[in-house]
Structures are given as C-alpha cells and as structure tokens.
C-alpha cells in the first residue's frame, strides 16, 4: 500500500533561554532523527510521554514548523518547501478547547473556516449541515461555542478539520480531558473518518484508546523512536507475556523489594500509587507459588494473572516512574 506520510531522520532543535540577568542560551533537541511511514487509510498512533516529541512531529507534518534536518513528506510533497500544495489536502486538531472562536456559533465557526479553505459558498450549507450531524452538534448549531462542553468543542474541532475533506488528518490528543462517554463518541467519529479512507495520525496518552483505534503504533521517548509495530507486534516485543497483579494493603517497601528479588521476576510496578502491584515474569505459575508461600494470606488479598496490554509495552519501552 502507498505511503502517504514518509518521515526520514527527522530532527528538530529549539533554543531556550535560561536565567534573568545572566541569560544563557541552551539547545533542546525535541526530535533526534526519527523515521517512519504511514500507509494510506491507516490509523497510526504516536505514543510517548510529555515532551517526547509527538507534538513537534505533528507540527512539522502539518507545515507549522520547520525541521532542523531530515525530511517529512506528505503525499510525496515536502512539508518544508511544498507547504502551499500540502495545506489544502490535510487538516489537524490539537487537543484542548482552543482553536475555535468561542463568541461565534458552531455554524458560524464552520462557515468562517469553510471560507478560509476556499470552499464554494453554494456547497457550504450542505457540507456544514452534514458535518454538524456527523459530530452530533446539528441541534445546537446556533449556540455560541462558549456555552459548549469540552466534548462538544472537541467534536466541533473535528468537524472543522473535516471541512476540506482532507486526505490526511492529524489528531493531537483529541480526547484529552473528556469524560468516558465523550471520549467514546470521539473514538467512534475517528473510526468513521478512517473508514471513509482518510489517513489518521493520532497522538494520545490513553493506551486503551490507542489499542482500540490504531492499526500501527510508534513509541517515542526523548525524541527517539523506540518501537514501531501493530499492537500485537508491540506486545510480542516484550519478554513477559503475562503479569501478576497482586492486591495488598499491607505491602511495604521491604516487601516490594522481596517481590523483586524473587526468582524469575523481571519487574515490579506499583499501579498508579494504588494497593495493586504488578509483577512481571515469564514464569507466572512459579512466581505465583512463590508469592503465596512467601507472603501468605495475611498480606495478600488476591492475585490476578493478566495478559500484557499496550500500557505494559509502553512502560517497558518508554520507562515508568513507578517502577520499584
């Protein structure tokens, strides 16, 4: 299948100034030479912690930022050089509630952006009506955007980004801050967009979302690409096919250290500072027996054997601050 996005050895550095009286310029390398390709019609995920370089990558691909070196091509056109030819063929949504005019209604926002995208006036009414219906905002199209919920604003942003029927759409954390229902609605819309043949490049911090939506995923850490594959391919990259989730209210640091020193245990992670501790091992049965014999019922409320998910892969590839 044809690649619509081709990124080769992409680098981007920023200059930051530190100090007030004695100013010192420092170079920050946001991207350190990443390469990947995205095929037509794919939903491609870009995952990584804050500051990993996801947004910088998207900004270069959307012609908003110049690369320091390397190349980024969309539909065979260079994002820094052929930007005028690219811009009418792509669109983007950056997460959050911005990128809209809050004092205008949803319909007026779309009319304005339709004009900016040079969509003929005679086609606008039907197009805007269709998009508003698609994102579920038709009934409230005349309300000012400032009265919309966060989810409604995000959906309106998607409608705005679809005005020019882009061949490639970039979604930078589109579900950030949304409640579960709002996020699910938005995921449905993203799936619809993809089923229409539009290529989607998505960044998100929600692993379940990436697992559910993406055909392939690239993981970035500190400006470098650390993994790139399908969800199953990524899962196969890590050594431990299973993990044991130990539930205990009485585990102290010493117990955690004991857990980590058990034979065949590769990693111990406290789950979101909760009472759950994930124990990674390639030999789950052996470790389970050892845990039960070492700590007994006094300390352990329960143990679940779980398959690894994308979050485990992410933690393995990108690193985790909760590792013990």
């Amino acid at each position: 299948m044809e690649s619509v996005i081709v990124v080769k050895d992409l680098m981007r550095s920023y200059e930051s100034v530190e100090g007030i009286l004695k100013k010192e310029k420092k170079q920050v390398d946001a991207l350190k030479g990443i390469s990947f390709e995205v095929k037509r019609g794919e939903i491609f995920g870009l995952l990584g912690p804050n500051g990993a370089g996801k947004t910088t990558t998207i900004k270069i691909l959307t012609t908003l930022l110049a690369p320091s070196s390397g190349s980024a091509k969309i539909l065979g056109l260079d994002t820094f050089g052929d930007e005028k030819k690219i811009r009418s063929k792509i669109n983007f949504v950056f997460g959050g509630e911005r990128s809209l005019y809050w004092r205008l209604s949803a319909e007026d926002n779309l009319k304005y952006f339709a004009d900016l995208y040079l969509i003929p006036r005679k086609d606008q009414a039907q197009l805007i009506e269709g998009l508003l219906k698609r994102v579920g905002l038709f009934e409230v199209k005349n309300r000012k955007v400032e009265s919309y919920s966060k989810g409604m604003k995000q959906r309106l942003q998607i409608a705005r980004a679809l005005l020019n029927a882009p061949q490639v759409i970039f979604l930078d954390e589109p579900t950030i801050g949304l409640d579960p229902v709002g996020a699910r609605d938005l995921r449905d819309i993203i799936r619809q967009i993809s089923s229409d043949g539009t290529t989607v490049l998505l960044t998100t911090h929600y692993m379940q979302e990436a697992e559910e939506l993406c055909d392939r995923i690239a993981m970035i850490r500190e400006g470098e690409l650390v993994a790139l594959s399908s969800v199953d391919g990524l899962k196969a990259m890590i050594d431990q096919p299973v993990k044991l989730r130990v539930s205990s209210e009485r585990f102290n640091k010493l117990d955690c250290r004991v857990l980590k020193n058990l034979k065949a245990v590769s990693k111990v992670v406290q789950v979101d500072k909760s009472n759950f501790i994930d124990v990674y091992s390639a030999e789950a049965d052996t470790v389970l027996n050892e845990i039960v014999s070492k700590f007994g019922r006094d300390k352990i409320k329960g143990v679940q054997i779980l398959d690894v998910n994308l979050e485990d892969v992410y933690v393995e590839m990108v690193g985790d601050s909760h590792a013990i």
Binding site: Y14, K59, T62, T63, L64, L65, A66, F80, E83, K84, R87, S88, F94, G96, R98, S99, L100, Y101, W102, R103, L104, D108, K111, Y112, F113, D115, L116, Y117, L118, R160, N164
Partner: protein
Amino acid sequence: MSSCKNQFIMSIGRATFQFCVLAQPIVFGFILGMMYLEKSDQAFTAYVLIGSGIMCFWSSICFSSASDINRERFYGTLENLFVAPSGFEMIVLGKILGNTIWGVFSMIVSACFVLLFFDKNMVVENVPLLVFGLLAMILSFIAIAFMLAGLFTLSRSARVLMNVMEHPINILCGIVFPLEILPRLVLPISYILSPTWAAKVIRLSIYGGTASDIQTSVFGLLTITLVYCIIAARAFKQIDYKARIDASLGVY
C-alpha cells in the same frame, strides 16, 4: 471578506473594544472640546472634530488590528489561519478591514458628539482635500496595522509595543496639537510616521494652504504609506518561512 465580517462581529463582542468605539469617542471629544473651546473655529475643527476622530480611529487600530495576532495566538486559532489556503496575509488584511469599519464608526460617533455638544462653527476651506486626507489617513493606518500584524506574528515580545504606542502616536503626529510645539529633536520621528502627514493634509484642508504645501504633504503621505506597504508585504513573505523556523506560532 469572510475574515472582515468575522472580525467585525468578533471585535465588538469584546468589552474593551466596545469602550474603544462607543465610549472613548465621547470622552476624547469632550476633553479636546473643553481644551479648544476658546480657540478659533479652524483650530476647533482640526483638533476637536477631526483630531478626536483620528485618536479614536488609531485606538481601534492599535488595540485591535495590531493585537489581533496575539489574540488569535491565545485562542489557538493562529495556526489554523496560518495554514489556511486562502492565504495568511489576506486573512490578516480582512481582519484589519473589519476593524477599520469600526474605526470609521468611532470617528463618526466622535464627530456627532462634538457637533451636538459644542456650539461651535466648523470651518473647512477645501472639502475635497479633507475627504482625500481622511481617506489617505485611513489607508495609512491600514498599512501600519498590516505592518504591525506581521511583526506580532514573528515575535511575541512585540506585543509590548502595542501598549506603549497609542498615545505617543497621537502626540508625535500632531493629531491633537500643532507639531511646532514639540521639541525639534523628536520631529524626525514624527516625519517617518504617516499619520503626521495625514494630519498635515487635513489641517491644510481646514486652514487652507498653498498648492506647494498641499503637494508636499500629499506626496509625503503617499510615499510613507507606500513604504509601509512594501515593508508589510516583505514581512509577510518572510513570515511563512521565519515563523516556522522560530516556532513562534503556537506559543502564547
């Protein structure tokens, strides 16, 4: 035109801008009217009727067109405008035109207040020249706004300028009192500002003047406005390249 219409609606929704185009003309008209109450009819016409209008027009340009780029940056829409196929410079120009309409409206409010509130005769020696002077002044302010918008796109720090440039322009350009009372040292600055020449043309239309005086002032005004247009056009050519190198679009 869409950008102009959108700006027209959006601007007036802001309380500061409402003050600029509705209340400020009355305040300026009243203050200047009281200052020039005992002066000649010509001085009253030049510095109160026209002067307060120009002040209001400049305020609306300064606080809207010039700072619109920062506002778009704050809304998070600057990047959307920047990549829109209709062209960033055309969008900015549309926004400036939208504000210009409000600027002209504020001039009319000011003129109506001055005419109704003060019992003074308004004297104009050369009406066609006054009309020309006012139109040329509007054009020169559009050129200034266009130039500033380019500067604001490239640099976030440039917004500091906006807050300090409103009244100096009124003073340096001889809008509310004759240039002759300013120290000689600052006059070169006055003469590189197009409103100075516009104000001169307008005063000549009121007081009358020789053909040579009129020609010099009109020539000065048109030349400086043309220079501003060239600088603005060059700045916008550079913007697409430089703003992406400096990453100055999305950061507020």
